[in-house]
């Protein structure tokens, strides 16, 4: 589902269809479902890595970035740099 930017949809995909794709007895459509679940899992993993890295960098370096940090922030905390 989606083009390339729906990691939460893929998470739901993986969790909901996991039982159908891997644990249920085999039926004709199962290989197709299995491939979709695997592709969702790969996409999800990719996005988890990217977002975790960005969030870590942003949280630790926002104060040091000064003006850029303020323009990138949605909510700026009060009273701390």
């Amino acid at each position: 589902g989606g083009f390339a930017l729906l990691p939460f949809l893929w998470l739901v995909n993986v969790l909901w269809f996991c039982r159908e794709a891997f644990l249920a007895p085999a039926y004709t459509e199962q290989p197709q479902i299995k491939s979709y679940v695997q592709r969702s899992a790969v996409g999800l993993l990719f996005w988890v890595v990217v977002l975790t890295t960005w969030v870590t960098i942003f949280q630790t370096h926002r104060a040091r970035w000064g003006e850029l940090g303020d323009y990138l922030s949605f909510t700026i905390p009060l009273g701390i740099p």
Partner: protein, 697 residues
């Protein structure tokens, strides 16, 4: 059945009553736990272009076990020995020094500080201001008199320890009421002192201080965040405000305030500052640093308006009261900026000479010193005018108990608004002060710069009315200074008559000193203000801090006093006074008309209001840095004050951490137990609740 329903109704009624009363009862539980401290003043965060100064607390307040420090050794308990850090230190005012504060700043065992104001004032003096006030914003820099820059020649405030300009990461409060300090000390003695050789045990007396500041880093950051918030956010959250207010100015001969002055007209400017500061927010008695000078200025203005040929003098005289001079010359830099851009009726070319009154109340053996600028004194075109100005001043003190002396011509000017005018143009001028080199004021910009500092003493047993009119020695001395200033101004403005008739009234001076230093709610101030501004007057000594919302009480009171002393009463009705265009003979462009409430009729509660025609105007005193949006400016003042939500202080007893954890664990255990019990009872309900007559299934 009917009885059952009646019982249900009764039960419902009782429950409703209990719920309603529960709201009030909950409050009394809070009152039993916490004792609020009402008479306190916090230290807040101020920011300028490069730094933040002041204090900060955590968002939900800082709590600590109280420890009273009355001598230096008590501090070791806080810093090293005490077993229950962090501590909230209650400090005697005498010990509030830079060394102690730097020691507290370096440790993490201190969560806050409460300073008890020391009565009497510390005998060796105390000044949290800088040793070189307003350094870098005056006229002396690397291009203009480099040997005078950064107080290389004279240190003006040698007692200054710079505490107001340090950054603290814990809250600091001032305890103004000695009774509250006693309550805290009593709590400390009851619970926190070690007993029988062992350490103090829980429960201990603790204090919580709330003073969370929203702004950080510096003015550039907080103003940028303000603009981001107001442009992009749905609910903008402003974090800081620039310090701003209004300057008050008035002229001897009325001028058209909406048009510019003719280039051939000349003006003599006389200036004083009207604000001060201390380490704590909105505590700024400023007796010697501000009040003494502007009271003498007001008295001189009154004396000059009584001179018969005042309106025919060749040059005009402009009485200017600058606000915000404590914070890098906010008021005077703005006025010079407006003059340069033709936004002010008077232009820099119109200024003939400049006279400023600095601190003038603590004259040592009647000496008053005349300071001039050495660098412009070497300028060939300005030098003779400066000499003439000084000569005029020295001649004006004949017959008055004031010995005017000139300081060495190689000494620079003290921190004064005149320096901002010199930055724009070499103008001949002088600054009058009671100090030759270093300040006579040992409490410059501190909480102790009060009426006692300028030796205002009243005899015992006077009623408030009698105290208002009693002429103290200080009032007499300031009246003499005002007389000298008035005579000098008359001659500088080109007056040729006999000056010995020009005298400042000591009674007016003493009324002003009482009003601006002891109690603003007196009968004279009540009679000269507008009727809807009665909230302006209070029973506590007034504070002269510039603040961020304008106009502050001091500016308004100076405006009304100046209007009363220099204006004339005109016979207009209230309708005509409030709408001068409808009044016959009123000139809205030249004059300002105010409807004041007047004094009380004898044996009556009603007042006799009247209309005052004066030349008093207000002009905005916001630093040009904020107009130009140059928030990192090094040329103009960039001081801002942080915003905050809640500032309060309270004391209560705290229990040990172990007791808190035990309570929590017991509570969770009871919860789990009750859930299990409910589950089992539910599962076995058919076994537990079967009645003998039922059919078993």
């Amino acid at each position: 059945m009917a009885a059952g329903r009646g019982a249900e109704a009764w039960l419902g009624g009782i429950l409703l009553c209990a719920l309603g009363c529960g709201v009030c009862w909950a409050n009394s539980v809070e009152r039993k736990i916490y004792i609020p401290l009402n008479r306190t003043a916090p230290c807040v965060r101020l920011l300028n272009a490069t730094h933040q100064v002041g204090c900060q607390s955590s968002m939900n307040g800082d709590t600590g076990v109280i420890h009273v420090v009355e001598k230096d050794q008590d501090l070791n308990w806080v810093l090293a020995d005490g077993p229950h850090p962090p501590y909230m230190v209650l400090l005697e005012g005498e010990l509030f020094t830079r060394e102690l504060m730097l020691r507290l700043k370096g440790t993490s065992r201190v969560s806050g500080l409460a300073v008890a104001i020391s009565k009497p004032s510390p005998p060796r003096g105390f000044s949290p201001g800088l040793q070189c006030p307003n350094d870098g914003f005056g006229v002396y820099d690397s291009d203009y008199g480099p040997q005078y820059a950064h107080c290389n020649w004279t240190v003006w405030n040698p007692l200054g320890n710079g505490l107001s300009y340090e950054d603290f990461h814990f809250p600091i409060f001032l305890l103004e009421d000695a009774n509250e300090t006693q309550v805290i000390k009593q709590c400390y003695q009851d619970h926190n002192l070690p007993r029988n050789g062992s350490g103090p045990e829980y429960p201990l007396c603790a204090m919580q201080l709330f003073a969370h500041m929203h702004a950080v880093t510096n003015t550039v950051t907080c103003m940028r965040r303000n603009s981001i918030q107001s442009t992009f956010s749905l609910s903008p959250e402003v974090v800081c405000d620039p310090l701003s207010d209004s300057n008050v100015w008035s002229t001897l001969k009325p001028i058209n305030a909406s048009r510019k002055m003719d280039p051939a007209d000349e003006v003599v400017i006389v200036a004083t500052r009207i604000d001060s500061h201390s380490f704590f927010w909105n505590v700024a008695p400023g007796a010697e640093s501000a009040v003494s000078s502007f009271v003498a200025h007001l008295a001189a203005a009154e004396a000059l308006h009584k001179v018969p040929d005042a309106l025919t003098l060749p040059r005009n005289i402009m009485f200017t009261f600058f606000q915000g001079e404590t914070f890098d010359y906010i008021g005077s830099s703005r006025m010079v900026y407006d003059m340069e851009r033709n936004k002010f009726p008077v232009r820099l070319e119109n200024i003939h000479s400049f006279l400023e009154l600095s601190q003038v109340a603590l004259r040592n053996s009647s000496a008053l010193w005349v300071h001039t600028d050495p660098v412009s004194g070497r300028n060939e075109s300005v030098r003779p005018q400066v000499r003439a100005l000084v000569e005029t001043l020295l001649n004006s003190s004949l017959g008055v108990n004031v010995t005017l002396q000139e300081v060495s011509q190689s000494q620079p000017l003290p921190p004064s608004s005149f320096q901002r005018f010199l930055r724009a143009r070499p103008i001949p001028g002088a600054v009058l002060a009671d100090h030759r080199a270093a300040f006579q004021n040992r409490y410059y910009q501190s909480v102790y710069d009060t009426a006692e500092n300028i030796l205002m003493r009243y005899p015992e047993g006077l009623s408030p009315e009698e105290t208002l009119d009693y002429v103290t020695d200080t009032a007499q001395s300031l009246a003499e200074v005002a007389t000298v200033v008035a005579r000098a101004l008359y001659q500088l403005a080109g007056g040729t008559g006999n000056t010995s008739a020009i005298q400042a009234d000591p009674r007016t001076v003493s009324r002003m000193l009482y009003g601006f230093l002891i109690k603003t709610n007196n009968s004279w101030f009540q009679s000269i203000i507008k009727q809807d501004l009665k909230g302006l007057l209070g029973d506590e000594p007034p504070q002269h801090y510039i603040a961020v919302s304008y106009p502050v009480n001091t500016t308004q009171l100076v405006q009304f006093v100046l209007a009363n002393l220099t204006g004339t009463v005109v016979n207009f009705t209230k309708e005509e006074c409030l709408n001068p265009e409808r009044a016959p003979g009123a000139d809205k462009e030249m004059y300002d008309y105010t409807w004041v409430q007047g004094s009380r009729e004898p044996n009556s509660t009603s007042r006799v209001p009247f209309c005052v025609q004066s030349t008093v105007h207000l002009t905005k005193a916001l630093s040009p840095a904020f107009e130009l949006k140059e928030w990192g400016s090094t040329e103009y003042s960039t001081w801002t004050e942080s915003r905050w939500k809640d500032i309060r202080a309270r004391i209560f007893l705290v229990a040990s951490k172990e007791l808190e954890i035990i309570t929590l664990v017991v509570g969770i255990a009871i919860l789990v137990l009750s859930l299990l019990a409910t589950y089992f009872i539910n599962a076995k309900a058919h076994v537990l609740f079967s009645s003998p007559g039922d059919v078993a299934y």
